[in-house]
Symmetry: C2
Subunit: 139 residues, 2 copies
DNA sequence: CTTGATCCTCTAGTGACTAGAGAGATTACG
DNA sequence: CGTAATCTCTCTAGTCACTAGAGGATCAAG
């Protein structure tokens, strides 16, 4: 039922020291320990940790992830902030999807054009450079 | 025609020391200088820098960006590697889009549900946690 | 030709890990 | 039960991609 930090690392595909680091900065809660002070975890820790990993891979900062986890941790809190946080994240997510789609199209074109031996007119830079300043105001 | 590093920073929306840093690590080419050793840039620098900024925002590592810029810099190189690089990036981009879409749906649901005063069943974690290990093998 | 903004280099600090040392805990086998 | 192999513990230091600051030079406007 309860497993070690190494097992958790394997299950969530995150390195052991990273887990300890996440505990230190408060992303993962402090967990219970054995007599000899070794950490033991249950299944929820796997989901939470896997979530953090994915969110990081998607480029969210730890602070943003913290707020997302807060929504999860306290589902009964009044909507005001939660709604605001969710909306801000949504906006960011939409922008990222749009940018990635633009890049996707360009890469696709490059691969297509590749059939004839040369990359040819490569417009990767223009694709991403020309997205007229989409400043995200939340941090 | 030629402008300063501060002007470049404004146009590409990147901080001045970051530009110098990019030059140092070879993402931005060394540029010409004034008598007094101050850097001067032309328009292409703006596009390149804006591209780097966007790519970084999308979570690409500097090394990945370097390879993308290489495609741009040498459009006549034989297809073999270029094609491979483009394909690897495309795969990654597709995965990111998929993950972001999943997160998007969840956030949307949360905001919808918010109308009635509570967040209720929040499944943000499950959304991103359950994406069965999508190891990217390129670095 | 001065003055204030901008630029130079260099060193050091930040966030988010990642690696390593040295010591203690746990588990698996005989 | 003993002991060897394999974790795990804490702590310090290193990495990557910036970011900030000191101390001084240069530039452009008046």
């Amino acid at each position: 039922m309860a497993f070690s930090i190494g097992e958790l690392a394997r299950r969530a595909d995150v390195k052991v020291p990273t887990i300890r680091y996440y505990e230190q900065i408060g992303l993962m809660p402090e967990t219970f320990r054995t007599e000899g002070q070794q950490r033991r975890y249950g299944k929820p820790a796997v989901a939470r940790l896997a979530f953090i990993r994915h969110a990081r891979e998607l480029g969210f900062e730890v602070d943003a992830i913290r707020t997302l986890l807060l929504l999860q941790d306290e589902p009964d809190q009044p909507c005001a902030q939660a709604d605001q946080i969710a909306k801000a994240r949504l906006k960011e997510v939409d922008q990222r999807i749009a940018s990635l789609n633009a890049l996707r199209r360009e890469l696709h074109k490059m691969i297509e054009g590749c059939a004839c031996g040369r990359i040819g007119e490569c417009r990767v830079i223009e694709t991403l450079a020309d997205q007229t300043h989409s400043h995200r105001e939340w941090k």
